[in-house]
């Protein structure tokens, strides 16, 4: 349940025993953490984040590996070799995944807001 806060008499600055304080309203973190909607939201978000992260890290680390193989050392367009083209693709990938994240993030914000709304509705 609500964690006991140990405010010292100087004000709200110092927290001795880790957990929260009573300034505004107590937030029952345990309750939120156990809500089904919260866990579904976190699972969805983490699947997306770590899925994409695994993808770009793999594509990225393939560059220094493939760069020393004949595949990327060949000239692809005029005198432009494969390594430059692959590297350019990683730049494009970065900007596109950045845009993807910016597009997806508001959806997760909305889900988080819904979880908190549900919590507040249930708490009253």
């Amino acid at each position: 349940m609500a964690n006991v806060s140990t405010l010292n008499n100087q004000g709200d600055k110092i927290i001795k025993t880790t957990v929260s304080k009573t300034k505004k309203e107590e937030i029952d973190y345990k309750k939120i953490d156990q809500m089904t909607s919260f866990n579904e939201f976190v699972k969805k978000k983490n699947t997306f984040l770590f899925g994409v992260a695994a993808l770009f890290l793999t594509l990225y680390i393939l560059l220094p590996i493939l760069a020393f193989t004949p595949v990327l050392q060949q000239k692809w367009i005029g005198n432009i070799t494969g390594v430059w083209v692959y590297a350019a693709c990683l730049f494009v990938m970065t900007v596109m995944l950045c845009m993807l994240y910016t597009k997806m993030a508001p959806k997760f914000d909305k889900m988080a807001a819904e979880v908190l709304a549900e919590y507040k509705g249930g708490a009253k």
Partner: protein, 517 residues
Amino acid sequence: MNLVTIGFFLGIVGLTLIVTYIAAKRTSSASDFYTAGGGLKGWQNGFAIAGDYLSAAAFLGVSGAIALTGFDGFFFSVGYVVANLVLLYVIAEPMRNLGRYTLADMLTARFNEKRIRGVAATGTIIIVILYMIAQLVGAGALIKLLFGIDYWLAVLIVGVMMTTYVLFGGMTATSWVQIIKAGLLLFGTTLLAFLVFSKFDFSLIKMFDTISSDHGDQFLVPGMKYSSSIDSVSMMMALVLGTSGLPHILMRFFTVKDAKTARSSISWTTWITAIFFSLTIFLGFGAMHFVGIDAIKLENAAGNTAAPLLAEFLGGNILLSFIAAVAFATILAVVSGLVLTGASAISHDIYGEILNDGKLTEKQQVIAARVGSISIAIVSIILALFAQSLNVSFLVSFAFCIGASANLPVILYTIYWKKFNSNGAVAAIVTGLVSCLVLGAMGPNVWNPVPGAAILVGEPLLKLSVPAIITIPLGFIAGYLGTVLTQHKVEQKKAQEIYQEIRVKANTGVSVSDISH
């Protein structure tokens, strides 16, 4: 040195001092000092983070490396750019939601133990000092070259300037110096790249044809600097993962008000760095072709003056002076950020929280922060004066290596791993830190059979120039083992309750204003 050069130089100094003066009026609390009161806008922080990325090592070092070694130099550019995604996807938002001033604050939000704060602060100080020595030694050499003043005087000028910004203007001044410099640097680089590209009739095919026919195909493929895949994989791992563990970058996420703004900051940074590092191809090839490899090496064996020399070729003395002034601003901005980060670890973490149990008043905190800034500045200046004749540019890659091996594992575990405990955290940081320093000290950057090529003469015990490929897994394994081996000793119920709070806060941002005050 001539009037144009002095004019640009004084312009930069004047502009940054005005910024510091304005910022000083707004810097009264510890939160103002360390995080600009959390009041930066997304684009401002985005430019400031980009400014941290675009250090002298990135601007002068990368363009020089491409000019001398072709594609091997471009590896750095790719690493810096993709590193944005790691920050954006897994670090930036939870960091903002959990932290206050420092990395240690974020870790102690979960494990409120002094030893955690102690090891985290030690890691921060070591990274800051390594990074700073490299920047100051580079700065001294560069200013000596560009303005013809003595090394010691150059280091002293940079030292006094950086201390002034931080001391009076705190994070607000440091951020604005960084923003101004990022803008100038982006403009200068775009101009140089445009001029180079116009000489190749705006044709990439023609540019590559010229490099191939006039300089040789070896510049178009890797292999001039990195002999093996392993060496470059190791370096690339340090770059992409280390950025998310560099304390001066992490600290920037506390300068904005919430996770949304942290997100938009990194989005800005991604665009700025993607543009900037694409342009390094033109700077590098331009310098190689128009200035010439021999002429570059004659000025500086590592190629650090390739970009200024290219500017001189393209636009005469005026462009050279402008680019030199921008390079000067770059150095000032990056070292200021480092001073501030070092001060946060010394004054806030060690002095304020560990030695005084967080019981300092607001006024005492600000004084401590200023004393900390001066101390870290003096130590770095002295070390930089001693390191003059050493080739220390590799220290930057060591800093990335420590960031990736000591800080990143512990950050990821703290946010995402339920069972993680404080023993695991200490084990991860200490193992990451020590393994980087020990393996690094055994490597070819420190040992070289040719006298003068490295710090010490002899065969390196380890062939890897950056040991990240060994040390990053070590950091993660240590964190895992430290946790599972000591699990029975930890009070499970309480630890679980704290993690529930962390998980809710990290994912929803609830009560951010509570934590950040």
